[in-house]
Assembly symmetry: C2
């Protein structure tokens, strides 16, 4: 059986290869521009945290076909020798503009822009979507959980419910960017340097004749890092009383950094009862960690009920997204070369919300004097210098709704503007050093801080406005009209 | 940065390693038995299709620590030299009993049983859960979709929304077992030999000055395999009329195997209109493929409305599970060695549904004379010969509810019984050749056929009974009583 590789150009859809062969035969010199964007904020929330960029750039820099992969393609009797020979020498050599990883992104705005030959831009579509959709989903889910916990201590415990090995690994990476402080996944520590943490499993307790001996044995082994799992038999009647005995023994030897974990039952009720029992026993420093199918909604309730919880272990719903298990990110052609020039293109369809924005675009974010984000503007790169000039003088700028004619407003009273898409890859090579995950985590946190709290509400958030510029609106209208003719 | 490996023993939770070190120091010779089972049928459905076994066995046979991985563990200052030296020579050498991959499985019954040292059984927990939970989820989702389509032609198109690269690859594998006939994921063809298929993207159409030239160019390239995407501009006004022109040209040259794909809009309305237009144009052989956020519920409705659809392309919701994005599979200690004997263990907790079944168990499925499954019985291996004897004489057998005292019935009028868990790994080596995915797909289909249709209902299915034997009930009651003392 052939083996899984970190970066395989076969990680694509079959139709990309058949289209590539078609382009190769018919229009091999044509270039195109594609946008990556998503159509709906995940979790019916107010934002997304963009993640996965470095993983993608790493993949693109290392993308090449191996002999066995070419042999496989040949065996399908669908590709001719000339095209397979082209694939043998294939390297991605395109240009990429992207938002910095960790930045907040909103529905319908370009997050990434790719320029290259039709062949190379087509091949990488599934890989790009696979990496960015998933990590952005999980970074966003984690940011929601982190917000709900009031910036508490969040540990990602999801490997066992994640979607395959790198479903687990990339979830750990994205969760860290979104605000988790540690992961249980040792591989995430090994590959990404994420701090690894853990407590004990029920099986540890069950491997001993009784709970007290199991607790005591663990405390002897790890006196400086001892969180005792209290719910194997009965939390309040057995787990907490036994934990108190052992934690008092640890306390007597001057140890710190100990506590209990609650993994079932009503966590509000049990955390309050446990807190009281621990306090009454003279263990106010013992921390309470909770786990068990947590998500942002449950954590939000527990925080509002003042449940005395110090740490949150979040697994399944963080690493899968829970009820919203995919980001609807898409990759759409925005321009193609015609007789040497790049001509704007758009997908029309029968559905106005599914119409894409044409042309070579960027996204600008406008801030007030306190660094609070006011609204985003999608504009054409041809307008860039004009826009920069206007914004330097802080003059008013008209903002248009992406598809509703009469909805518009004037951006004024802003303090500064940031242009979000920056060059990250040129001719297939990364333009900058990879940043540490801690840097990306900080960026996400700062970006989250810039968003008004009403837009971060878990349910029914205030919609942050993403508008289009006047020139983009005109271009879009022209293309639609030309097709209606 | 360290690289991702196909099989890494670091693909585990940190607490497994800390517990392992504890076992290593305190009770290194103790053996234990663990069960893999899930607590709730996914999608609120009536069954699950067990998948992922061969992937797991492959991983276990190849599990070993590399020097850099040991160096990483050493750098955590948590593991001592003696333990790290033990890890250097670590190989999984346990015994595994499992249901054949592709078999239907139901909530709370053992699907896999692992016997080995506490150390090795603990290490593999997250890897085992990661591989089996996800693939079983996706095989089950696909089986539901396949059933809803009335065993139609299902193509898996999910790579771009899957959770990372092998979230995509393993989804393709599991979807094939569950009933998909092909995948768009070329890597799934390369690694697993799954047939790869695809049509064309909107970008193909948009790379040409107009839709008709795009269709014609594609038909010239792939005259024997030509499915034209009809919704880039306007399905009924442009896409289908242009497709008819090109398909008529193909028909005139004697070609077959062509059609259209609808990827947006109301698929019932559009498929009926398109079918009529194609028929009126003398193209009754042109097939209609549909896609766009399909799942079993949408397909069920389209089938009931007699929408004239030949092929289904299903992506996002098939490869992520959609609204139910994880299987709640767990790994619980069922017995541990005490003074040489294996003693039954169970997790009690405050929650009766979360109590595990103790002891070394197997699952038997009872069938009527038509091969229809009647009910499953979880029994102790110590009862096995007695059970086999009784079942050979077709004598009545008492079936007990797993946790409700008064709920019981007598199994009678059955024709035969099958014992589901069979040995698959001995001393860390696989006992049998890997079976082809086609074999697993056939097994899943046959297993599905054995289940009554009322238990396959998409919503509110008839609950298929999973009972426990009298001896298992007695053992469970004894352990609960001993803890209540």
């Amino acid at each position: 059986m052939n083996q899984f590789r970190c970066h395989s150009p076969l990680r694509t859809d079959f139709y990309e290869l058949t289209m590539m062969q078609g382009y190769f035969k018919n229009q091999r010199d044509t270039n195109a521009v594609f946008d990556y964007f998503f159509r709906r904020n995940p979790f019916n929330g107010g934002y997304a945290v963009f993640a996965g960029l470095d993983t993608l750039l790493d993949g693109l820099e290392n993308l090449h076909f191996q002999q066995e992969e070419l042999d496989y393609l040949r065996s399908l009797n669908h590709f001719d020798d000339e095209f397979l020979e082209y694939l043998r020498n294939f390297r991605f050599q395109g240009q990429i503009y992207a938002m910095p990883e960790g930045t907040l992104a909103f529905a319908n705005e370009p997050i990434l822009r790719i320029y290259g030959t039709l062949l190379e831009t087509q091949l990488i579509e599934p890989m790009l979507l696979n990496l960015l959709n998933f990590q952005t989903l999980i970074a966003t889910k984690t940011a929601r959980i982190f917000e709900a916990s009031h910036y508490g201590s969040i540990m990602e415990f999801g490997l066992r419910r994640a979607h395959g090995p790198n479903g687990g690994l990339f979830a750990s990476r994205a969760a860290f960017i979104g605000g988790a402080s540690a992961s249980s996944n040792v591989e995430a520590g090994y590959i990404y340097g994420i701090p690894v943490r853990g407590t004990m499993a029920h099986s540890w307790i069950m491997s001993y004749p009784d709970e007290l001996s199991a607790f005591r044995a663990y405390a002897q082994l790890y006196p400086d890092n001892c969180t005792l799992l209290a719910d194997t038999y009965n939390t309040l009647e057995s787990g907490i009383p036994n934990a108190i005995i052992v934690l008092k023994e640890l306390q007597a030897t001057g140890r710190k950094g100990f506590g209990v974990r609650l993994d079932s039952g009503d966590l509000d009720f049990l955390s309050k009862k446990s807190r009281k029992m621990l306090n009454d026993a003279g263990l106010p420093e013992a921390e309470i960690t909770v786990s068990n199918e947590l998500d942002e909604y449950i954590i939000d309730h527990l925080v509002h009920e003042n449940a005395p919880i110090n740490k949150w272990g979040v697994g399944t719903r963080m690493v899968t997204g829970g009820e919203d298990s995919s980001l609807t990110g898409v990759y759409k052609m925005a321009a193609r070369q015609t007789n040497g020039d790049l001509e704007a293109t758009m997908k029309l369809t029968n559905n106005p919300e599914k119409m894409s924005n044409p042309g070579i675009k960027n996204t600008a974010r406008f801030f007030d004097e306190n660094g609070q984000a006011l609204a985003d503007l999608i504009f054409l790169e041809t307008e860039r210098s004009e826009l920069e000039q206007i914004s330097r003088s802080l003059s008013p700028i008209p903002f248009y709704h992406p598809h509703i004619d009469f909805a518009q407003f004037t951006m004024k009273n802003y303090a500064y503007m940031e242009i979000l898409l920056q060059p990250v890859m040129k001719d297939g090579s990364c333009l900058c050093e990879k940043q540490s995950l801690t840097t990306l985590q900080k960026r996400a946190r700062n970006s989250l801080k810039s968003l008004d709290n009403t837009s971060k509400r878990l349910i029914n958030p205030h919609i942050y406005k993403v508008s289009i510029s006047q020139k983009l609106k005109e271009l879009k209208t022209d293309i639609i009209k030309s097709h209606l003719r």
